[in-house]
Symmetry: D2
Subunit: 382 residues, 4 copies
């Protein structure tokens, strides 16, 4: 049976709310049953209607949604709540939802501050409910293939990692025109970091997810390039990684003309891996002494995780929504297994959660501290 | 409100049935409400359960589905029926569905023979119901951009068209192991052509869709390359097109190592267009005297059709399922408008239907005739 | 010691003459010692001066060059003569040069007609001198790698070959402005074919060189697309190849916006090869059941022919001039070996010559005949 | 008339010596007339014979070459001396050559230390002779196009620069087997830096050449990754640039599987530029609000510098040797103009020299100092 889903945020014009709805719908594993789509009653209602929800399941606040759904009969009330609000509105609804017995899907970064993240972790642990954090890019099959190859030792121990996330959409002072830009560049809604919080955290998460290494120290140079901007819109970070490896992470939103070509390259003693978002269904594997390989999603030779996360045969490109849907799907498979009293498979359990959320918030706070420091290296503190 | 959808075919292991379900689900415009997923009762039931359908809406034959659904109250019975069976089982259920008052979504090619196609066209016209044919590739935003650019005269009058559809999955005698391969290589289920019917029709459809030209004469060389194969698994066709243009169409399923990199190139007096499936979100536009342009889905500068058919901003790749979903979505928008007594927009009406189906069947019969002829040119007869 | 080289043709503004000079110079194996660069004395002299030749080695006609050089002392006279004139001026100077004891490097196509080609073959055989035909594209290391892989059976027996040669520079009626365009579109100087003679012969030669197969029958559709043009500027050809394989060859000079992206794809029972000029240092090798390989020039793993024809390590791109120079270099290595009484290596002997020239001329005459025929298939007649 | 060239270094097995000879030969502007190819007499003689030099022009030491050539008649003695020895053997021969009245072509980095670089600059200025430094990558047409576009303001004022130079050939401890690796990893022959001296200087030079900006402060993290290696084989550098821009420079020789895909990306207020060595004939130009452009070498629309540095029309790839040859060619055009009492054109004068050499050495010393510092930023000191 489909999981009943409620949504907090995602009103008219919200980019990420629509993405979450597509992701939830794609595999037919969720039924969107309720929503508090906006703090403005009218907007929430309009969205509810557009989505064909009955009026009584459309709420005016997250509190109302959580409290009233909790009051519904078990067979009817939502089981999972997706929270897709700006960063400053992650913690409170997530906490209330968990404490009220709901599983939670939360957009990244997990909270507004590291302190909130630790607190939410405690709440989640106490609640016995699960929290899923939508670090989209870990949902791509060939990202998972990279991770599995590294875990299996294919390229030997890792020496160097490059991760880059270039965007150009904040090259101009667009915060006056764009709702998306406005909250992301506002310290009161976005948090201590701008680009580093929005996309740097994806880069950091992908690096740790794929390599299995941990950032131990870093040296950051964050900048607010566009005049008048109050948060970083560009940054570069040197990394020291566990096991003696090193890395470079860049994230920028002022690379004029760039779209969203997130890229990760990992080099070990015996070979290298190269994945980029613009060719998401491909993983290049490079060797010193034989031809590079073009590994492709949907083929028969990929590992169990890549296979589990593809819906179509090779040559039928899957994209961003499918990657997002993989996170929803794995979370659903985990919940369904547990509802049925079974142990979820490793492939089902492969979704980001609380641990990744805490490290992401620590990343934000560490890069901000490092950027303000005259010392070269700053310890990564969780 | 969501459109209620019934499905004929798409049982366990069926590739295209699963695709149709994803496509119907993605935008939340359909509710899968009933199905006759297999002619084997047990398999149909198993699939219905997996999909969470109530037992009474899972049928053992297409006739049962159509007749029993027709008997249900209007507010409950399915409104649209998707038919995703092998080619020899397209005509009868489509005819009965239309005659019984249902709209129909039909996998390509439309029928088993051109004669059936003409008959189905008559039935559809008489029924007042709509038929949508899932020529997937026309659902890609940048395919639509190519079409719109040509229609607006961007490259001048067309001179040359190359369309190629290389696959490798039938390089070996896999029909004994693979259900997908078995019916596609069986004249009794697939029809007069193999590769030309399966993917050559896509190539033909894309060419006519994008260019607006019509094939007038052709010269085909079809081959059954794998020993023992009874239908063509490879072919090449020279084309004469309306307006004096010419073209080359190739379709093969024995290009060992190829996945599904369908490609269309169109050259006019003033420039050229190049789209390929492996980079589906990109359209290259080439000019004789200035730099080639990389036009991208999701950007602000694309035309109204490309814009209407994208869900995400540039740099967030959309793929095969999204293209498929665009066909379902446009068909839904058309039906919803008409149910509401409105005229659908040109963007909603942009889905393949009966006319494309007839031309596709004529293509199959003409290439087969040409391939058997010692004459160079064979007229394209509809 | 360097080989002393004379040149016929290649005056001011001639594209291919300059290319031949770069190719001869790159490896320091030739010394340009004499030239009859133009039939206009003044132009020939001007080019000679520009190249720093002594005035007495600059001639006003090919006859003068050949006769006067023959009269010089053996230690001083040229040993090899490069002929880089338009097609109608290949036969006579090549014949005279061979008969006068000189080795000849000849631009393609070998002659103006097949009959001339046969006659030149007889002359060459009788002369005991060598003739090298500059089919440039066979000089690329990764083309040679493709050939060697196929010869070694890497992809099994060949089933399908696609070769395409798209250019756009003749999209407009440029023959009035451009000397290069003028002779290539003039039947009196170019011969029976336009695009098919100029670039179709390259495509044909590459196909036969790489695959080792022979064209046995073909079906051609040639067109003069630009109004007023007297020779084909566009064409497509279906091919029947030895061993039961088939193929498609296209060559066009009216693909507006295309540069020179010559491409060859070969599919065998067990895999496929894909080479394209725009990425000339790469050969893609595709397999049905494992990742495609990116084979690269300059690496340690390529075969003996690719290795012999590269000057730089992997990642240092070599291009068109280097490919051209490989032909000059292999010819020089062959002549030097023979002058030293040694047998040239297989790698040195790997340059196109009389046999390729005859087949190229047969290709031109057969495609023209086929294009004029109402029969589908025309036998390839040498 | 050709310039007479002498060469110091470049004996059997030397990579860069052979490259210099190809580069000098390609355009027929130099005549290799003398050489001291190795400090071992036998090897020098063997190479001289291979190159067809008369025995009396083959020397056993650079001093011998310079002194004996100086003693020859003016019409016969070499005019230019190419020095292609390891770094520790740049200064002395270059100094003697300049003081002896010869023009000098010197491989990079200019000297062994910054102090030597300053001294050589003084010598060069006093000598009235010219020094050309072979920073190869500035010789590519599309690198020059990037520089010209930026100089003309096409992308507005620069904000961010990424330059990366990944190689993998030193991933293993190959210094015991490879002569190339041995001297590059030896502080006594290579200088204060390994990878940063060998390829980091190219990256630094390209950045300053293309952008016109100057590095003002930097933060470096250099590493000797392979156990036992005495010089850095990997490094990353954060950059502060003149005009308020910032950048990231990475250079590594332990990126296993990478060849030589040097890449530069520059983002300004209005657009971005992307050039990479693996597609050297292409420059991508990206815009926030219109399609990205693929600018190509050899086309009619490129600027005067790109045009001047190409030999073939678009679609005929030029590579590493051509880029190298452009430096030789521009140097020759400059010398020839000056010998003729003319002022060289801006395009001829466009080759790297003393100023670039000093900055390159300052880069090496600054990154080494920064890498040893606990402070984040180190001033760039010349």
């Amino acid at each position: 049976m489909k999981l009943r889903l409620g949504m907090i945020g995602g009103g008219p014009g919200a980019f990420i709310g629509a993405i979450h709805r597509h992701a939830a719908a794609l595999d037919g594993l969720y039924e969107l049953s309720a929503g508090a789509f906006s703090s403005k009653a009218e907007k929430s209602r309009a969205m509810g209607e557009l989505l064909g929800l009955p009026a009584e399941r459309v709420y005016e606040s997250y509190q109302e949604l959580i409290n009233q759904e909790r009051a519904r009969p078990a067979a009817e009330r939502v089981q999972v709540i997706s929270i897709v609000t700006p960063n400053h509105l992650h913690f409170a609804p997530a906490k209330l939802a968990l404490e009220s017995g709901f599983h939670v899907i939360l957009d990244k970064p997990m909270t507004f501050s590291l302190a909130e993240a630790h607190e939410l972790a405690r709440v989640a642990a106490a609640s016995g409910r699960r929290l899923c954090l939508t670090h989209t890019y870990t949902g791509y099959p060939m990202v998972k293939e990279a991770r599995q190859l590294i875990a299996e030792g294919a390229i030997g121990s890792i020496r160097k990692v490059y991760v880059e996330y270039p965007q150009g959409w904040l090259s101009g002072p667009v915060e006056s025109e764009s709702q998306q830009a406005a909250w992301r560049t506002d310290p009161a809604r976005s948090g201590a970091a701008g680009a580093m919080g929005d996309i740097g955290t994806h880069a950091f998460n992908l690096l740790e997810y794929v390599t299995g290494l941990r950032v131990e120290r870093l040296c950051a140079d964050l900048r607010a390039v566009v005049p008048g901007r109050r948060l970083d819109d560009d940054g570069a970070v040197l990394l020291q990684l566990s096991g003696g490896a090193s890395g470079v992470l860049t994230a920028t939103q002022v690379a004029a003309g760039e779209e969203n070509n997130f890229r990760l390259r990992v080099y070990g003693e015996r070979g290298g891996l190269d994945w980029q978002h613009a060719e998401a269904n491909t993983l290049l594997v490079k060797w010193p002494d034989r031809p590079a390989e073009i590994r492709r999603a949907g083929t028969g030779y990929v590992g169990s995780f890549a296979r589990h996360n593809a819906r179509t045969p090779a040559g039928h490109p899957e994209g961003y929504l499918e990657a997002f849907a993989n996170i929803y799907r794995n979370f659903a498979l985990t919940l369904q297994a547990e509802l049925a009293g079974q142990t979820p498979t490793p492939e089902a359990l492969d979704f980001p959660g609380v641990a990744e959320g805490i490290r992401g918030m620590a990343f934000i706070e560490t890069v901000v501290a490092s950027s303000q420091s005259a010392q070269k290296w700053t310890d990564f503190r969780v």
